[in-house]
Amino acid sequence: MVKGLFFCRLESVTTCFNFNVLKFIMKHLKTGTAMLVLFGLSTTVQAQAVPAQAFTRVTVHLADGSSIPNASIVWRNGVIEAVGARVTIPFDARVTDGGDSLHVYPGFIDGLATWGTPEIPRQMDRPERPAEPGYERAGIQPERAVQPLLKADAAEFNLARNNGFTLAAIAPQGFMLPGQISIFHVKGTETSTSLFRSNIGPKASLAGTRGAYPGTPMAVMSRYRQLMHDARTLQTVQATGAANAGRDAVLESLYPVASKTTPLYFIADDKESINRVLSLVDELGFNIVLVSGKQAHTLSTELARRKIPVLVSIDMPAKPDTASTDNQERLAWNTRQQAAWTAQVRNIRTLLDAGVRVGFSSNGLKPADIRKNLDVLISDGGLTEAEVIKLLSSETASILGIGTVAGDVRTGRLADLVVTTKAFPSKGSRIVYTVTAGTQTEIKSSPAGGSAGPRGRMP
């Protein structure tokens, strides 16, 4: 805890009473750092007597794009109690006055992040039998929980919060089936212990492991087939109560996938890979949420027809250089590259127009790059500000199955909020507070400034 605080001192957050924390706060007060000390409580502590908190004189932006000027928001115990222009502020509410200039948005949700998870090792051991390397070495760990793997002090958690993220679905990094996705409150160093939903489904990809089976996408596809056959058979055999049925944690974790209770969160980017995943869906009968989907626009009609939602990556290449030239061949080449770039930055636009449900996933994109790329979505990607907010909040929440409890600024939802100086994400707007499950954090602007917003210090 203390160590974690040390690393996030710029953000000056406290969520518990602790002598060290007080000392820390005092130190910063003395040095003149503006501080907002909050007496937030973890959501697991549910006491009636907990004081409320509120924003007053703010513009509230709802996920559907509508807004309420001169409004107030009251929350208690991590849940929104009231939102609107005519809200009575409870006597016990600690109020932050928006001064008629601040804007409040639903907290951003990352549909699939790798934040705080261990990197895949650069070098892997050579297995004794590459043909049968065992589940783990093969990258087949759909039962693996992410919680024990998370690095509590990972800088990304602070960076994510500073960039407006309040919830993140996180899964381990790896190959074919690296593990389960769990949803965490983004609370800086407390993120790893702030579990919101555990094991909502396995992360999946067509990536082969190194130096063992399955090593190529084609073998990975065969391995999915075999896993599903094995899971279904084991489930049948277990149901008979046979004494020798046996147990297999990997296969058992796939039962809800086989029965379509849980989707596979399948990472695929290019058109051919997405087509491969779709062919597996047809053959094996499971549901998917497509993750990343950088070229999903090429199959937008098909994805809409199948009602497959996409947690899309906004990791986009820089705009190609189109320096003028009198070389005709090069001009033609530039034109095609420019068109390819435009198609990619308009990925979400195309998907939305086709009727695909689109949420957001960072999937490895650095938090600081997210804001920059959101600007590109608006300048070149054909999205409105409201659509970007919806993408980042209610749509992602709904795809993750938490749409009724998170993703909007409404009574009864999680008190997950982003507060900005101007309408977001227009240029020049800056995040000043995030509220994560009721815990309010002031975001200090980084000395460097810039549209990427405040940044935490890297450990």
Binding site: E132, G174, G211, P217, L234, T236, A268, L278, D282, G364
Partner: protein, 437 residues
């Protein structure tokens, strides 16, 4: 099966007038017209008229040759070798077809309309092949030839013994071991079939052994990478024992040494015109291989196994005339009807006959001449290459990143096995950017 995303294979209509038609099946016909309707050849004759809306092409002074078929290719695949296991029968090349491969267009520009996209030769029993129609411009599923028989790659000799025996210290390290790996898996497939038939709910479907059993049941054509005569004899012995028929030896540089045995067993061969000496097992080979096999009545084809060689298989076929005096017709058969036989599609393609699919190319000169240029290539009656409208940049999929100057200098020539691609990758234990595909 790509059920959800399957697209209909386009079919076209065309009338080619007044060409020298090399039918392959019924001689070479001067000043002849060929009418194609909805992807099929409907009439061959003289003074044919184009039905309303059907384009007429003047073939005067030109040669119409059936689309060239390459029985050994690794074109349009995103991965080639699953080198982690000596047996990977469950792997399907049709899962990893890359329809954007510019190589498909370059092959069409050489009059090649069908290629057999194969697994590599790292494994004794590799993956299942995909017979591709070169519908460049369609999705992956649009390239898969409908209802083409299933095929599978086997590999004998240096490659599997090097990768698995020397590389990983597992069977096989010798040609002795190769035989036993094959036998073990056929026997395992038989046992599996019995077990599964007895208790279908308790024995899970096994992707690998199902394929092995299908081979035993004659449902899959085996295409076996091989070089030396002893290993060719070995496989014929094993196949006779297990009752497997209709198979093709790929490369088969020493097939000429056992041509009578191949003929007796009805085994086919698919070879290079003149490649040799790039490894020890091809040191004692001869460019007269095709002539000897042809002399003994073995159904032989000339293949490329190379994105470069596939561009000029007509030229490769002409070498069989040069080396050993194969007749011009037989030379052309080796790139048309013979590979069609080997892929089990000879009733549909490989010759210009009424009722067959309209895969052919119009050549400026006799296609065995080095001066011949394919001017237009049709697949199922649809023009997929047209010299008259050929643009410089024929890429389908343009990347938003990269520079204009970027180029890849590929070594030409067979200094290494093209079909050992991915094996290098396999031996590199460094992880790449896997999370982002």
């Amino acid at each position: 099966m790509m059920v959800g995303t399957a697209v209909a294979q386009p079919k076209g209509s065309v009338l080619v007038k007044n060409a020298t038609v090399i039918t392959i099946a019924n001689g070479t016909l001067d000043n002849t017209d060929v009418l194609v309707q909805n992807g099929l050849i409907t009439r061959i004759g003289q003074n044919l008229n184009a039905p309303r809306g059907v384009e007429t092409i003047d073939g005067t002074g030109k040669y119409l040759l059936p689309g060239i078929i390459d029985a050994h290719s690794h074109l349009a695949l995103t991965s080639i070798n699953e080198a982690s296991s000596p047996v990977t029968a469950e792997v399907r090349m049709r899962d990893v077809v890359d329809p954007n491969d510019i190589g498909l267009y370059r092959a069409l520009a050489g009059g090649v309309t069908i290629s057999h996209a194969m697994h590599g030769s790292a494994n004794v029993i590799g993956g299942q092949g995909a017979t591709l129609k070169h519908h460049y411009g369609e999705e992956a599923s649009g390239l898969l030839m409908r209802d083409a028989p299933r095929t599978i790659k086997f590999a004998l000799g240096e490659n599997p013994t090097r990768v698995h025996g020397q590389g990983n210290g597992v069977h096989p390290r010798t040609r002795m071991g190769v035989e036993q790996v094959i036998r073990e898996h056929f026997d395992a497939a038989k046992d599996y079939k019995h077990r599964r038939a007895a208790t279908p709910t308790r024995v899970a479907k096994n992707e690998r052994l199902e394929v092995m059993a299908d081979i035993l049941d004659g449902k899959i054509l085996v295409h076996c990478h091989s070089y030396r005569s002893d290993e060719i004899l070995m496989l014929m012995r094993v196949f006779n024992e297990y009752g497997i028929k209709n198979y093709t030896f790929q490369h088969a540089n020493e097939a000429f040494k056992v041509a009578p045995e191949l003929a007796k067993n009805g085994a086919h061969t698919s070879i290079f015109a003149d490649w040799w000496a790039y490894k020890f097992e091809v040191y004692y080979s001869t460019s007269y291989n095709a002539a000897i096999l042809n002399h003994y009545g073995v159904v032989n084809s000339i293949n490329s196994d190379s994105d470069e060689l596939i561009r000029h298989l007509n030229h490769e076929a002409a070498k069989t005339v040069k080396y050993g005096g194969v007749s011009e017709l037989d030379a052309l058969k080796m790139i048309t009807i013979n590979p069609a036989i080997q892929l089990g599609i000879d009733k549909r393609v490989g010759s210009i006959e009424v009722g067959k699919e309209a895969d052919f190319a119009l050549w400026s000169k006799h296609p065995l001449s080095i001066y011949a240029i394919a001017e237009r290539t049709w697949v199922d009656g649809v023009t997929r290459f047209n010299l008259a409208t050929d643009a410089t940049d024929m890429r389908l999929n343009v990347s938003p990143v990269g520079t204009f100057e970027a180029s890849i200098m590929s070594e030409s020539g067979r200094h290494t096995d093209a079909c050992m691609n991915d094996v290098l990758d396999f031996f590199t234990l460094e992880t790449m950017d896997h999370n982002h595909e």
